[in-house]
């Protein structure tokens, strides 16, 4: 696929700015791709063609969970792709309607199981907006720190599994996988020192955090970051300098910026397509207004660009953590009343939406107050998962690629099924 260097043509109906391109796209961003028709009636396709139907998933090692894509193949080329979700639908939203605000945090941990900290923060941001709880400055710093550490861990896991998807091209694939998990364990050790858990932390609460920074944690963080940073060039060597990797990813699975926005795709995938938007910089929450966030963008919008953006985001997160770790202000970590009884938070009604930049994009929570037990539960809770929107790009992008490319695209999209299905 050819990459155009021209900025996309300006739409006449658009109001703001007399700039060269739209304000949300960086110059040189990839031109709009030719979208496949996701609603193509397969009967209308060439009747002479010998079509084959291939079910990829729901149990397939490279679908990153229980995701199923039904592929209609003409030879080895995909004609139509129909994704199916819902194999991990656990009814989290229904469950949350029965639980008190204070009980929900450990439930949503399991949604995006690659970055549980982000789920907790997203849901508590919405609850704080609904209940009007203030978060003290120390807790906001602590949240920023763990969010960035979690971003490093999440991207490392993605890098490892993506290398597995690419398979034999990268020394059996498991070289990068083993490297990445070695570094991810360092991040998990930090979280274990902070909260006592490797995986599902339950450390955030309405109005602050539960676990204060233990003594000596800052130096542990610095040590771990030094190790990870020293090994980042290795990944660049193993992945981006590898000619086979470049051949399998460059120009594969291009998603342009306009399609990203229309589909609601945010995060590294949109930034790889030249969408210069990051909630950490543009709509700051936590302590991001006190630290500089350099948004990492690429213009090509293909699988290689997504890899580059994610690898660079790791080093950017390392920089943010380093900038914050020494300046954590003193003070309480929970400004709100600490949890004494389960039913202590109460809301009469109202609606709130709060979002943050998870490693996959905008993770938001829409919460409507005034549920059962005199308003101690939400009446309705809706999580806006970034992965669902990212996975929705597949029917537009997959047709025209071969099956082996489909695996690469699926990996680079990084859908977490716990989050898509909830």
């Amino acid at each position: 696929m050819e990459l155009s260097v021209d900025p996309p043509p300006e739409k006449p109906a658009k109001k703001p700015a007399a700039k060269a391109g739209p304000a949300w796209l960086i110059p040189g961003a990839v031109a709009p791709i030719e979208r496949a028709d996701p609603y193509l009636d397969i009967e209308d396709y060439d009747p002479e063609a010998d079509l084959m139907v291939l079910n990829l998933g729901p149990q397939h090692p490279s679908t990153h969970g229980v995701f199923r894509v039904k592929l209609y193949l003409d030879g080895e080329i995909i004609v139509k792709a129909v994704p199916f979700a819902g194999y991990l639908h656990r009814g989290v939203e229904k469950l949350c309607e029965k639980l008190a605000f204070t009980q929900i945090t450990p439930i949503v941990d399991k949604n995006d199981y690659v970055s549980p900290m982000m789920n907790e923060q997203a849901i508590n941001l919405a609850f704080e907006a609904l209940l009007g709880a203030e978060v003290p400055r120390r807790a906001r710093y602590l949240r920023t720190l763990v969010a960035e550490l979690q971003r490093i861990g999440s991207h490392l896991l993605w890098l490892g599994t993506f290398a597995l998807d690419l398979g034999g091209a990268l020394g059996g694939g498991s070289t990068v996988f083993l490297h990445c998990f070695r570094e991810r364990e360092l991040i998990l050790d930090l979280f274990e020192a902070l909260t006592g858990c490797r995986f599902h932390y339950n450390t955030h609460t309405v109005g602050g955090n539960r676990h204060d920074i233990p003594e000596g944690w800052a130096s542990l963080v610095k040590q771990a970051l030094a190790v990870i940073e020293s090994r980042l060039p290795e990944y660049e060597e193993l992945m981006t300098d590898n000619s086979i990797f470049v051949k399998r990813t460059r120009g594969v699975g291009v998603v342009d910026g306009e399609l990203c926005l229309e589909l609601g795709i945010t995060g590294p995938m949109a930034r790889a397509a030249g969408v210069d938007y990051d909630m950490r910089r543009d709509a700051p929450y936590h302590a991001y207004d006190e630290v500089e966030v350099r948004v990492q963008t690429e213009t090509a919008g293909d699988c290689q660009a997504r890899t580059l953006v994610r690898i660079r985001e790791i080093s950017e997160s390392i920089r943010i953590v380093r900038a914050l770790i020494d300046g954590v202000p003193e003070g309480p970590i929970c400004g709100h009343k600490p949890i004494k009884i389960v039913l202590q938070e109460r809301s009469a009604g109202g609606q709130a939406y709060a979002a943050l930049e998870s490693p996959r994009g905008e993770l938001g929570t829409w919460v409507i107050g005034g549920g059962v037990n005199k308003g101690t539960s939400p009446y309705r809770l809706k999580i806006r998962p970034p992965s669902l929107h990212a996975a929705a790009c597949l029917p537009y992008v997959l047709p025209g690629h071969s099956v082996s490319d489909a695996i690469v695209i699926l990996g680079s999209v990084d859908p977490i099924m716990g989050e898509v299905d909830r």
Partner: protein, 162 residues
């Protein structure tokens, strides 16, 4: 609407062209469902190009009380769009639907509405008119009922698996 700063642009637009007079501080403004699609198109032209979410909520019939007047069974569908630029301004509005009424689908404007609307159709049972592919997303195709309705028991059995 809590959690997002007040959106003056949206309120002016709604007051001037859509005849909305009430702007509650703790909830998005109510818009006539017939003008749902028109509003989304206007906002998209204004730069709200990022599709955020759609939330359908089921309300059981309520007798008149201190909290408010009598309410029949109804649905509310809230939609949110965002400007992907500095500030990330959020535009959100609600539409009220009686039982059996549908709401225009936004798939023609925002491709991302496809799965979100399918999910809400599946779980809450709100019909999105002119949706090109309105199937269940989460539950199996032959599932009975809509789980997120308030009168749906959370532990509904489903032989032979639970």
């Amino acid at each position: 609407m809590k959690g997002a700063p007040k959106n003056e642009e949206l309120e002016q637009l709604l007051a001037a062209e859509f005849g909305v007079t009430e702007f509650p501080s703790d909830a998005p403004p109510l818009v006539d469902r017939a003008r749902h699609l028109e509003l989304a198109a206007r906002l998209k032209a204004l730069g709200y190009r990022l599709y955020v979410t759609v939330v359908a909520t089921h309300y059981l019939p309520q007798a008149a009380s201190k909290a408010g007047p009598e309410q029949p069974e109804h649905f509310e569908v809230a939609t949110a769009l965002r400007k992907p630029t500095q500030g990330g301004t959020l535009a959100a509005w609600r539409c009220k639907l009686a039982v059996g009424e549908g709401i225009p689908s936004l798939v023609g404007l925002f491709a991302g509405a496809d799965w979100q609307e399918r999910e809400q159709f599946d779980l809450v049972g709100v019909r999105f008119d002119d949706h090109p592919d309105l199937r269940r997303l989460m539950m199996p195709d032959d599932w009975e009922g809509h789980p997120l309705r308030k009168d749906y028991a959370i532990d509904t059995a489903c032989t032979p698996w639970r």
